[in-house]
């Protein structure tokens, strides 16, 4: 149930972001809204829920982006695998530590995409663009993930964990 709710929240946020960014020029302020959902599911619900969330979020991201087929799925699954491996090593005790993890994951995601483009296809034309946006994306995602974490915790307490 929780996994389904988180996935629906992620999908709604991403579709909203796509529609809004056409009206309001977000550019460097564009957050990576799928990442906090993937990480929350992986860290707090386990690898199985994390994988299902990652797959759903990644396919929607591929649908809403002109990124080459498979590229966003590849980087998100890689981030999921790293998160699943670090699950017992990193202790997320507050929204701020969650924000740090999300920001780091966005930087890892950008670097993975860059490495994938260069090593698998030899494409370097978009490299500067990806490097240029990596840090702003991470910072903005960090701030947004604080709000998302608070909202998800509120949802958990109010609706999803009610006895």
């Amino acid at each position: 149930m929780k996994t389904f709710v988180y996935i629906m929240l992620g999908l709604l946020l991403m579709i909203l972001e796509t529609a809004i960014s056409q009206r309001v020029s977000l550019d460097v302020l564009k957050p990576e809204l799928g990442m906090p959902i993937i990480l929350y599911a992986t860290f707090f619900l386990g690898a199985r829920s994390g994988l299902v969330t990652t797959l759903c979020i990644s396919f929607v991201q591929e649908g809403l982006s002109s990124a080459p087929n498979g590229s966003l799925l590849f980087v998100n699954i890689s981030v999921f695998l790293i998160a699943a491996a670090m699950r017992n090593k990193i202790f997320i005790d507050s929204k701020y530590s969650f924000a740090y993890v999300c920001s780091s994951a966005v930087i890892v995601q950008s670097l993975l995409f860059l490495a994938l483009s260069i090593l698998a296809r030899g494409e370097t034309r978009g490299a500067f663009n990806i490097i240029f946006y990596a840090l702003p994306n991470a910072i903005v995602t960090g701030f947004v993930s604080i709000l998302l974490f608070t909202f998800i915790e509120f949802m958990n307490e109010s609706f999803l964990e009610r006895k």
Binding site: G70, I77, A84, L116
Partner: protein, 266 residues
């Protein structure tokens, strides 16, 4: 145990996505069809969400315009200034009228070759410059269809789903377009930079080009028809090393403010 199964499945998906990215024949085709199937649900969802977003942004725009108009009214005390502004507005309307009439003539000459589409979204990632339009396979849209506005070229369709399509905009880093300098015998390749300006490449320093020159499509790339306006030269540096000049171009379209576009059917 359950976690181990999830990790194994994740590694399998990782391999499949990598093969799809590298265009391994069977995997890439299967992945594309799965993705297209799932994307069929995204178009209607995006259409539904974009309507209230459009309404809210329209309402906010009207409010800000009203505030602006009030301030402007206070500032415009003298009658001469008012008349001057009115005059400017009329001139702008006249220019717009002429431009639209030109477009109307253009579409009337070939009524079956143009399809109007509404822009419903923008690429989720800021690594790419892409817009999403509300026309797809259902409307006979195909990949590589040129997309224009009355001002000029916007880009080309790169991905078509059932209800929506993705248009790669000129300033995407993967975009290239063959252009001519209007009224001159100079040709070059216009490439996206990911920023607002474009780079005109392979123009030799001896070629006749200067700031303010207008560019239009040459029709030689097999995608865009000939003679559609593209942009204007804003810098032309011939002092750098090498045989080619360093030229920046500002596109005629503001890709951040596109509401409707036209697709040219081939």
């Amino acid at each position: 145990m359950r976690n181990s199964i999830a990790i194994v499945i994740a590694i399998l998906v990782l391999v499949i996505s990598f093969l799809s990215f590298t265009n391994a024949p069977f995997v890439a085709r299967s992945f594309a069809s799965v993705k297209n199937g799932l994307n069929s649900f995204l178009g209607p969802a995006l259409n539904v969400v974009s309507k209230p977003v459009e309404a809210i942004s329209g309402g906010l725009g009207s409010y800000f315009n009203l505030v602006g108009a009030k301030k402007e009214n206070e500032e415009l005390k003298s009658k001469v200034d008012k008349l001057f502004l009115e005059n400017q507005r009329l001139a702008e309307l006249e220019r717009e009228n002429a431009r639209l009439r030109k477009l109307l003539n253009f579409t009337e000459k070939k009524p079956n070759t143009m399809i109007a589409a509404v822009v419903i979204g923008e690429d989720l990632k800021n690594w790419f410059r892409c817009i999403i339009i509300d026309k797809g396979k259902k409307h006979n849209i195909r990949e590589k269809t040129p997309v224009v506005t009355p001002r000029g070229i916007v880009g080309q369709v790169v991905e078509v789903d059932l209800w929506h399509s993705k248009v790669m905009v000129l300033n995407d880093t993967n975009s290239s377009i063959d252009v001519n300098i209007e009224g001159k015998n100079t040709r070059g390749l216009l490439e996206g930079t990911g920023q607002n300006t474009l780079k005109l490449k392979y123009v030799i320093k001896n070629d006749d080009i200067e700031i303010g020159d207008k560019l239009s499509t040459s029709g030689k790339d097999g995608i865009y028809p000939k003679g559609i306006p593209v942009g204007i030269v804003i810098t032309a540096n011939k002092n750098k090393a090498g045989i080619f000049a360093d030229i920046d171009v500002m596109p005629f379209n503001n890709f951040k403010q596109l509401d409707e576009v036209l697709l040219i059917k081939k």
